[in-house]
């Protein structure tokens, strides 16, 4: 029997706000699906397009990038870069033919444990409804086929 599809979601959470927000969600005993795999980064601005695309290539069904709210960045202006870069990356994967809804950018502060749980639930359901992600990796087999 085939087991039902469980999405794999990779979340990049910034050390100062969103990771603390996720921590708060846990400490507050808030329920959210276990599909989110967290990766802590020092600032959401350090998340390179390399990381996002790499995650999709290695089989992530969704990628979440979360950082401090605009104006609250621990490094003053790191998340301005996140916003500019990630908006661009999202539009680019749309053009590459990949569903841009598999990618999400959110601002979650360290006090927003409830918001983190909500985003986790909402995003997991969204990705679940989209189904397994199509392969995003170039393979020589494909080249021969087409």
């Amino acid at each position: 029997m085939q087991s039902p599809f469980e999405p794999k979601i990779l979340a990049f959470l910034c050390n100062w706000c969103s990771y603390a927000g996720a921590d708060l969600a846990g400490v507050s005993r808030l329920q959210y699906p276990p599909n989110i795999r967290v990766m802590r980064v020092m600032c959401s601005g350090t998340v390179s397009p390399h990381h996002v695309i790499h995650a999709f290539q290695r089989g992530a069904d969704g990628v979440l990038v979360a950082g401090c709210h605009i104006g609250d960045c621990h490094y003053i202006k790191g998340n301005y870069m996140t916003l500019k870069r990630m908006t661009f990356v999202q539009e680019l994967i749309r053009f590459a033919g990949y569903n841009p809804e598999r990618f999400r950018l959110e601002w979650i502060s360290s006090a927003e444990g409830v918001k983190f749980a909500e985003v986790a639930r909402d995003f997991t359901e969204k990705v679940r409804s989209l189904g397994p992600a199509p392969p995003f990796e170039a393979s020589p087999r494909l080249a021969m086929g087409i």
Binding site: S48, F95, G97, E137
Partner: protein, 263 residues
């Protein structure tokens, strides 16, 4: 052309001038100085294109105190503007003479500005604002487009030709060569090779199309970068290659136009 360049060289305005020399019937970029200015040929329209501003950048890096003149097309002038803005070349160390592209070259490139602002030779052909290859791609269903791109990326032999020929790829260290970010010794390389290069081209690509022409695997990179330019224009209201302004990605803070997003 000879008189103008000779004048520039004799006045000491430039130390060398980068123009073309016909070798075996094909124009080839060559550096002219006071010694060999007599070899300069009269200007005539031609279709061959070279990364002249990249050659200029290499020259200027070796001889930072020298002043250069250069003969540019529309796209090459745009790349010069970008190199000025990204602080790779000094504006006062470069003198520009411009020449227009031919009409069929403009159509082939689907070039929105096939002539430089500084137009000295030739007549400006009509700009081509619409890109048919891009429209066809955008009309494709999402999944077909993914397969289309993957089938092209699969042919990549990782020669780095697109990067090496690119007039605005000026970094001395390139993340495409990072062994962990893009695993080494893997063919075809990861999809991120092309997509990350596309991200890096945002706010830089001036749509010269040399990447596509040089690609030995014939990957239609130009459509990808044309789209990148449209995105930068739509999201950040910034037109790459214009003489003033700065790329939104060079500004750390909120000085640039911020896209709509979660706040």
């Amino acid at each position: 052309m000879k008189t103008k360049v000779r004048q520039l060289l004799e006045d000491g305005r430039v130390d060398a001038f980068l123009a073309y020399k016909t070798i075996h019937g094909v124009p080839y970029p060559a550096l002219f100085t006071r010694e060999n200015v007599d070899e300069l040929e009269p200007w005539a329209p031609f279709k061959a294109r070279y990364p002249v501003t990249k050659i200029l950048l290499a020259q200027a890096r070796q001889n930072p105190e020298k002043t250069y003149g250069v003969l540019v097309r529309g796209c090459e002038e745009r790349s010069l503007n970008e190199l000025f803005k990204w602080n790779q070349l000094a504006r006062d160390k470069v003198v520009v003479l411009g020449h227009a592209c031919t009409e069929d070259l403009a159509l082939y490139c689907e070039c929105p500005k096939p002539y430089p602002d500084q137009l000295d030779y030739g007549e400006a052909p009509a700009p081509v604002s619409k890109s048919r290859r891009l429209e066809e791609l955008e009309a494709m269903p999402e999944n077909d487009r993914l397969q289309w791109w993957l089938s092209h990326f699969n042919r990549c032999i990782r020669c780095h030709g697109c990067r090496d020929v690119c007039p605005v790829c000026f970094c001395t260290e390139c993340s495409l060569e990072h062994k962990e970010l893009i695993p080494a010794q893997k063919l075809p390389p990861d999809t991120s090779f092309h997509l990350v290069r596309a991200v890096h081209m945002a706010g830089r690509c001036i749509d010269c199309g040399l990447c596509e022409e040089i690609c030995p695997a014939g990957i239609p990179l130009r459509a990808l970068y044309k789209r990148v330019n449209h995105l930068v224009e739509n999201i950040f209201q910034y037109k790459t290659g214009v003489a003033d302004g700065k790329s939104p990605f060079t500004m750390l803070g909120d000085e640039s136009f911020l896209p709509a997003g979660p706040r």
